[in-house]
Amino acid sequence: AQRVTQPEKLLSVFKGAPVELKCNYSYSGSPELFWYVQYSRQRLQLLLRHISRESIKGFTADLNKGETSFHLKKPFAQEEDSAMYYCALKGGSTLGRLYFGRGTQLTVWP
């Protein structure tokens, strides 16, 4: 069964420090992994997807199939990065539905 695990419910770092939000998944096939972000009082929006292999707002995430992980990283956190981050998985057999982790609330202190 598909499952997405985000072990940290809360994560706090100081501005300028590196940040890593962990995400592990279980899926028998070839998954598509996403990171969604929800800033305060804003809608849920896509941050990045592993297929694109892109860096958005300084964030990167690499799919590690051996460790079944898709951790989100940023070398120097900014205060405006404070938000709720959700890791999500889309399985090929489920016609587009996403399976979400419980989310990690990131707080970046000045």
Partner: protein
């Protein structure tokens, strides 16, 4: 990216009543999804709404409680029927746009007294 709007943005309802949430997409999309986000929890898929066919419900959700309409490729409604306080939640609609990316509406915040 698709622009998705939802109405109402929030509501306070009495138990036993029903509320219909509307979701409008600014472009034609094949599939629309309805999620629920209960306080402090992650998003849970309620059902997938396909145009021209009945919605597909996830385990734990039934049509009598959450009837869905999908009259065309840009619009869908979700009704929360016979509400109880446990239905207090944020309800989100989403579509599957190009490049298989899903976009989300702003959500409908529901409080049932």
């Amino acid at each position: 990216s698709a622009v998705i709007s939802q109405k109402p943005s929030r509501d306070i309802c009495q138990r036993g009543t029903s509320l219909t949430i509307q979701c409008q997409v600014d472009s034609q999309v094949t599939m629309m999804f309805w999620y629920r986000q209960q306080p402090g929890q992650s998003l849970t898929l309620i059902a997938t709404a396909n145009q021209g066919s009945e919605a597909t419900y996830e385990s734990g959700f039934v049509i009598d409680k959450f009837p869905i309409s999908r009259p065309n490729l840009t619009f869908s409604t979700l009704t929360v029927s016979n509400m109880s306080p446990e239905d207090s939640s944020i309800y989100l609609c989403s579509d599957r746009g190009r490049a298989e990316t899903q976009y989300f509406g702003p959500g409908t915040r529901l409080l049932v007294l």
